[in-house]
């Protein structure tokens, strides 16, 4: 019997190694797997490259990981926010590397990794700073920039429900990057509000099929009272 559920957050983040590339789901705090991030901080892996839409909010979650000095580089689209003070300070001090990627290219590059494409010509960013030094091409009268896949060793994501095969469904706008990050990491680790028996999730509504998920951990349904 295959059972991808693990019984502790510690077990969930086991094996994340120094220098790993780790995708972290979420758009701001919606969909951010805060408990998994806390477990990663406790686990101790350092020199991480983080892929996330943002660069942390306030002092919790991703911001706390940054504050613990575990992150060497962040690949994101929107670091600067009203409450991104942790990142801002590290960045200004030259203590974190930033690769700024337009949000749609971030999504498309993650998808390209998950789908096994070698590279994509995307229109986004053509003629801008963010395409400097990149190969471009005119196709049918429109300009495109060549962008490469973003793969990860691990993905930490948050879903609403999961089962022992790793099937996942999400909740509202917390879905955001979860389903695509799950496809692009060697080991995808999902925190869910509830682990349900196999067969409980309707095969028509499963958003992330279990093939993309290696570990599932339940964190209780504190965040999903409305589900």
């Amino acid at each position: 019997m295959i059972d991808k559920t693990v019984s502790s957050l510690e077990e969930a983040v086991a094996g994340i190694f120094d220098g790993a590339t780790v995708m972290i789901g979420g758009f701001g705090t919606a969909g951010q797997p805060a408990e998994l991030i806390d477990a990663l901080i406790a686990q101790g892996a350092r020199d991480l490259t983080i892929v996330n839409n943002n660069a942390g909010n306030g002092e919790i979650g991703l911001a706390a990981l940054l504050k613990a000095r575990r992150v060497k580089k962040i690949i994101c689209s929107f670091p600067r926010q009203a409450d991104s003070q942790v990142f801002d300070a590290l960045y200004r001090a030259g203590e974190i590397e930033l690769e700024l990627v337009p949000q749609g290219n971030l999504a498309a590059r993650i998808q390209a990794a998950g789908a096994g494409l070698g590279a994509i010509f995307t229109p986004t960013g053509y003629g801008t700073l963010l395409a400097e030094g990149k190969e471009t091409r005119e196709i049918d009268g429109k300009h495109y920039v060549l962008e490469y896949p973003i793969k990860a060793d691990f993905a930490l994501i948050k879903a609403l429900k999961g089962d022992r095969w790793g099937n996942l469904v999400y909740r509202k706008a917390a879905r955001n990057f979860g389903p695509i990050m799950a496809t692009a990491a060697d080991v995808t680790i999902a925190q869910v509000s509830e682990i349900v028996p196999l067969g409980d999730l309707d095969p028509e509504v499963i958003v992330t099929p279990g093939i993309f998920v290696q570990r599932v951990v339940a964190i209780g349904n504190a965040v999903a009272q409305a589900a």
Partner: protein, 218 residues
Amino acid sequence: MNKLTRDQMAERVARDIPEGSYVNLGIGLPTKVANYLPKEREIFLHSENGLLGMGEAPEPGEEDPELINAGKEPVTLLEGGSFFHHGDSFAMMRGGHLDICVLGAFQVSATGDLANWHTGAPGAIPAVGGAMDLAVGAKQVFVMMDLLTKTGESKLVDACSYPLTGVGCVDRIYTDVAVIDVTPDGLVVRELVEGNSFDELQRIVPVPLKLAPLAAAA
């Protein structure tokens, strides 16, 4: 010159959004447009974080931290709305499925180049989000901005001095003093705020303008 308030600008943009349009309203000033879309007109608001059919702000106390817009403010979803992941959301944007996006701007050039994400100032931490995807992807890109900076310089320029968001992507500019189209023949003033004259406008904009009001502008 007579100037529209920010709310009047939002109301002006809202008037030009036809029923049935798929629309993305950028963070900041453009978000205000939603307040002026007539209730009887069905317009589909898209938010890049995976919502289509976005509704109004929730009642106080009804906020859901997992139901937010691209500006990370609480929103609601209309009946008929849907949730999807970031890949699908940006396919909608980049794939030309949005009819209109409305963006703020630092500068717009005479050829429709847009600068709205980065001042280029030393020490500034850049953040781009979905602006570049909207700029290249939406069928029509509307910009909404005051014509002048706080220090009195025209934000409508010959060539942008700020880093670009997109090249030749802007279709129409709603300013506080006039509505101006970017056309193959250059910038064309479609509408002047009541009391403003074309000559007055041309004096403060360092790019040649033409005057060609739209018959059905309202």
